[in-house]
């Protein structure tokens, strides 16, 4: 659906985006995560040419948008909706007119606009707010209006520039839910940029981690969460998935402490029971958590294995072979 070839965006003294090539599939929810200044905002703004890349080509729906004239870009933008962190609604216009604006931009005649706007407001759950002005709405409601406006011309792609960053957690969840629904029912490809790993975990299929204008890691959300490689990715994963044991536990331990990560099938098989049956050790569970990412389980368990040194080492080798991810945090004294 979207293909980037060697996209570079340079400002006078800085390079915001550095030679990024990327393909985003149709119907995918693709996340781009990074701290502010990483260039993710610039990158997403290149996708509808709000920002013109200095170098490289961008294809949307098979058409090279970087080769289009200004007039054709405006037409193409009707296929690419966009929502923003601060909503950016026209404050002097009602909710109805804000949504109708998008249709007006596409040259839709008035009667059709009047029929289409209520449908859109219905879809985002704001049918009763048509006559309100943006200042009378809450943040979540404003973002819903912005979503209705972005979807007015049946776009194929929806770009979300930190769309939930100005919202409280409950509202964030509701908006993410709405985006997921839009993705599923209308088949719209969503490109979402954020600095919150939770947002990625909740709705993205794939994620790219950006730092200093480059993509440092890219993969399915599940893979990135279960086996982050780049230090920055690890930091993001830890932000939602952190295990810190109290000092006291590490000091008073009697055996070896290990962190086991279970992925996919291994998360559902009884490895601990098997280990206990095979080796003469006792296992003390210190911490455990299973999260579901795109309906696949990802488990983390911190255990303390107590017994003879030989048995512990054999048991740990056994577990490591079965789960492929085992990290010894503190060895037996």
């Amino acid at each position: 659906m979207i293909r980037l070839e060697g996209i570079t965006k340079q400002y006078k003294n800085t390079t915001a985006v550095h030679d990024i090539s990327l393909t985003i599939g149709k119907g995918e929810i693709f996340g781009i995560i990074g701290y502010s200044g990483a260039g993710k905002s610039t990158l997403v703004r290149c996708l509808n040419l709000l920002e013109r890349p200095t170098k490289g080509k961008i294809f949307v729906g098979g058409e090279e948008i970087t080769a289009l004239s200004d007039r054709d870009i405006r037409k193409k933008r009707q296929e690419i909706g966009m929502i923003f962190q601060h909503f950016h609604l026209i404050s002097a216009k009602t909710v109805f007119d804000n949504v109708a604006f998008s249709l007006k931009a596409a040259g839709i005649p008035k009667e059709e606009r009047n029929a289409r706007v209520p449908e859109l407001l219905e879809m985002v759950g704001l049918a009763d707010k048509a006559k309100a002005y943006p200042a009378q709405l809450s943040g979540g409601q404003k973002q819903r209006v912005a979503i209705a406006r972005a979807l007015a011309n049946n776009p194929k792609v929806l770009l979300c520039d930190e769309a939930t960053s100005a919202l409280d957690p409950t509202t964030t969840d509701a908006i993410l839910q709405l985006l997921k629904e839009i993705n599923r029912t209308l088949g719209i490809t969503i490109v979402l940029i954020t600095h919150e790993m939770e947002v990625v975990q909740k709705i993205c299929d794939r994620v790219a981690v950006m730092e200093a204008g480059k993509i440092v890691e890219l993969g399915t959300v599940y893979d990135v969460f279960s086996g982050p490689e780049h230090p920055l990715t690890k930091e993001f994963v830890q932000s939602v998935h952190s295990f810190s044991l109290p000092e006291r536990l590490l000091e008073s331990r009697k055996g070896t402490i290990a962190k086991i990560t279970f992925k996919g099938d291994s998360a559902e098989s009884p490895i601990i029971s098997e280990t206990l049956a095979k080796f003469s050790i006792t296992i003390n569970i210190l911490h455990g958590q299973i999260t579901y990412i795109n309906d696949k389980p990802l488990g983390t368990l911190i255990i303390e294995a107590i017994g003879s040194r030989q048995e512990i080492e054999a048991a740990i080798r056994f577990i490591a072979a079965r789960t492929k991810q085992l990290e010894v945090l503190a060895d037996v004294a």
């Binding site: 404050s91 998008s102 007006k104 943006p134 406006r149």
Partner: protein, 217 residues
């Protein structure tokens, strides 16, 4: 005698009202498009154009830097050229108009600059043409600021119009000078000043009300 004075006041008011109406009309008709032009040719805007921006900006600055009393005198030949005379309120309205247009254009530009850049970008991301953005985003969003700016312009014009009396333009200022200054009728001077104060208060009050009604923030 008293009746004469009342008549004089009435005539002076009509003259002031006449010259200001012309100036305000042109300030809006020319100043608004000029203000928009100054804004949309700025760096990063859709009609970015350094040349237009600098030429228009410089002309506006030059006119604005000339004290009105000098502008009045300098424009006498120009007024004669287009109206055939340099006397009377219509003639005075020429220099008032020349002063009002750049004054208001800058205020229009300033109120456009107050608009969040993101709102304009969001409109662009909808695929809207520059024309539609000007009509449906820039003008409605800047409307309260433009009304406030027009209030300031009208009040400034009122004080400028008083100077028009010096070059035979008529109006309230003329009255105050002829009776109050040359004939030492301090009461006339005083009444004129009081009326001007009331007028300014009234204009400001109405302007504030209208600006508030236009703002949906």
């Amino acid at each position: 005698m008293l009746l004469d004075l009342v008549n004089e006041f009435g005539k002076a008011f009509l003259e002031t009202f006449w010259m200001m109406s012309i100036a305000v009309l042109f300030a809006v008709l020319v100043g608004v498009p000029l203000g928009i032009a100054l804004f949309v040719t700025r760096e990063g805007m859709f009609f970015e154009n350094r040349f237009v921006q600098q030429v228009a900006g410089t002309i506006v600055n030059i006119i604005r830097s000339i004290p009105f009393i000098i502008l009045l005198v300098v424009l006498i030949p120009f007024t004669k050229l287009i109206l055939g005379t340099s006397m009377g309120p219509t003639a005075a309205s020429v220099s008032l108009t020349v002063a009002a247009i750049p004054f208001y254009a800058r205020l229009v530009e300033a109120s456009l600059r107050e608009i969040d850049r993101g709102v304009i970008e969001a409109a662009e991301s909808c695929g809207a043409s520059p024309w539609l953005i000007m009509k449906d985003v820039l003008l409605p969003e800047a409307k309260p600021g433009m009304i406030a700016g027009l209030t300031v312009t009208i009040i400034s014009l009122l004080s400028y119009s008083a100077m028009a009396g010096i070059v035979g333009g008529g109006g309230i200022g003329d009255l105050a000078i002829r009776f109050g200054y040359y004939r030492f009728q301090n009461d006339v001077m005083l009444i004129t000043v009081i009326i001007l104060i009331i007028l300014v208060q009234l204009i400001q009050f109405i302007g504030d009300r209208l600006a508030k009604a236009a703002s949906k923030k």
